[in-house]
């Protein structure tokens, strides 16, 4: 148990001394996960609105499917994407395996169901009279959806925060398609995995604390946007 305390001390030491390797890994984790959360949000928020505001056959089944996909293990997603981007796979020509871009793609696949599902829930929570009012005032479908999104912005932002949290904390994808290459695709979570397997528990705990600290800072920032 002393490792927890030593781990905390080590975390503070690494942060205060701006240890170059840890800073590099932390920066990479942040860049990759922010990119994947943002890109996925840009795609999924409009897509979720589309799904929510249109009636079509199989809509309920689709929403069910989206919610089921919350439970896909990250290693399974990692394997799935690996099969696509490995040189032997259909997208092999792009040479994406073992690059940070591959991790971004994998994490986007990971957070898409979460974003879709939670944004649809968020939109559902908006009072139906708002839609009626907007339509009766002559708003088009597009304008109506903008109004509803704005009304639901708190919950939509919560979905984005959730997506970021999921992306930065996953290991399976980063490990399988990133390759944990030192200096190139090593992120905090894969570093924790490696250091633990090497027996360096204090460093692993320190890295975990650093990851939470990063998440805290990002959350504070996103929260300020959310409250506006």
């Amino acid at each position: 148990m002393i490792e927890l305390w030593n781990g905390l001390l080590k975390a503070i030491e690494l942060i205060v001394t701006l240890d170059p390797e840890v800073m590099e890994i932390a920066g990479r984790s942040l860049r990759i996960s922010v990119t994947s959360a943002l890109l996925a949000s840009v795609i999924c928020v409009p897509l979720a609105s589309l799904i929510h505001f249109h009636q079509f056959r199989g809509k309920r089944f689709l929403i069910n499917l989206i919610q089921t996909l919350y439970s896909v293990p990250t290693v399974a997603i990692g394997l799935f994407v690996f099969l696509f981007i490995s040189r032997a796979g259909p997208l092999g020509g792009l040479g994406l395996l073992f690059t940070p871009a591959a991790i971004v793609i994998g994490q986007m696949v990971l957070v898409t169901p979460i974003l879709l599902g939670l944004v649809i829930s968020a939109l559902r929570g908006v009072d139906i009279t708002l839609i009626d009012t907007a339509r009766s005032l002559g708003a088009s479908v597009f304008q109506t959806s903008l109004v509803v999104l704005r009304e639901a912005r708190f919950a939509v932002m919560a979905a984005v925060i959730m997506a970021f949290g999921r992306a930065i904390s996953e290991v399976g994808i980063s490990l399988m398609i990133g390759g944990n290459i030192r200096g190139y695709t090593r992120v905090i979570t894969t570093a924790i995995s490696l250091e633990t397997s090497k027996g360096d528990l204090e460093l692993s705990i320190a890295l975990g604390i650093i990851l939470i600290s990063i998440a805290l800072v990002v959350n504070i920032a996103l929260n300020r946007i959310q409250q506006r």
Binding site: T17, G179, Y184, S197, K198
Partner: protein
Amino acid sequence: MRKLTACLLIMLVLVLTAGIFACSQPAPAPAPAPAPAPAPASGPQYPLHDPLVRFKIATTTSLYDTGLWYHLEPIFEELANVEMDIVYAGTGIALEYGRRGDVDAIIVHDRAREDEFIAEGYGINRRNFAYNFFLIAGPSNDPAGITGLTAAEAFQKIYDEGMNDPDTVKFVSRGDDSGTHAKEKLIWGEVGFDYEDVRNSGEWYVEAGKGMGPTLLMANEMQAYVLADISTFLAYNLKTGLKIESLVEKDPIFLNVYAAIAINPETHPKAKIEIANQFINWLISQEVQEIIDTYGTAEYGSSLFYPIATCDIPGCPPEEDYTKPVP
């Protein structure tokens, strides 16, 4: 608002004080060993060489866990002006990456599967560049009584005692289709067992499904017997102080020869064959052989790997396997 600011300021001051305190204290628990372990405190520089040329290799876990690659990587990057990406993989998955063309060269240590790999047309220009030995490690009190036996005899005793008393006598296997795992299966074969029977025989046989380092740690926790290569064993003994000892060492079957294979550009046109050839020639060159000869002597008393030319027991590769430069 002022209260909040005050609280944050106090927290900041506390964190900084703790930080200064933590930095000036001598490190409490066992500090990470001096080189080769890449302790982040001594962050190596990453001068970015030609970033567009990324030379990928998959290496066995036993070479990686000793930190040899951290030592060799910057030298080759400088020499060939490439960015070297080293993927940590057991021999099984390394061969798979090779078949899929996801890497440009592989470093493995399982002769039988290497030959198969090359025969299937996936690999070319195989060269051996280093060797060391395996050993069987176990608890100091040696409940199965294997000290001093040959490898086959030791395995037989572990099996017998393990079936007898699975709580006291355990064996931890790599269980991951690696080169070490292949060697283990070979030894079981020598004893006369069918590996599948051994696997399913009882609770004494534990399959870790991990790399060499993590498997050693597991054997350490369980106070079990384990087949390990001497270099990872020594490295981990120094780093984390293992409570298992080397019990069986001298046996020709323990010979462990590492090979580097380039991926065949005929099967995978995008494989960077010139760099791979340069890499392989560099591995068998005098410069690297000397590094291998002395790597680890300072920390461990004996070197962790041996230059291939000094291999002189039955089973060593023929001279041309390690002296002829690749075209």
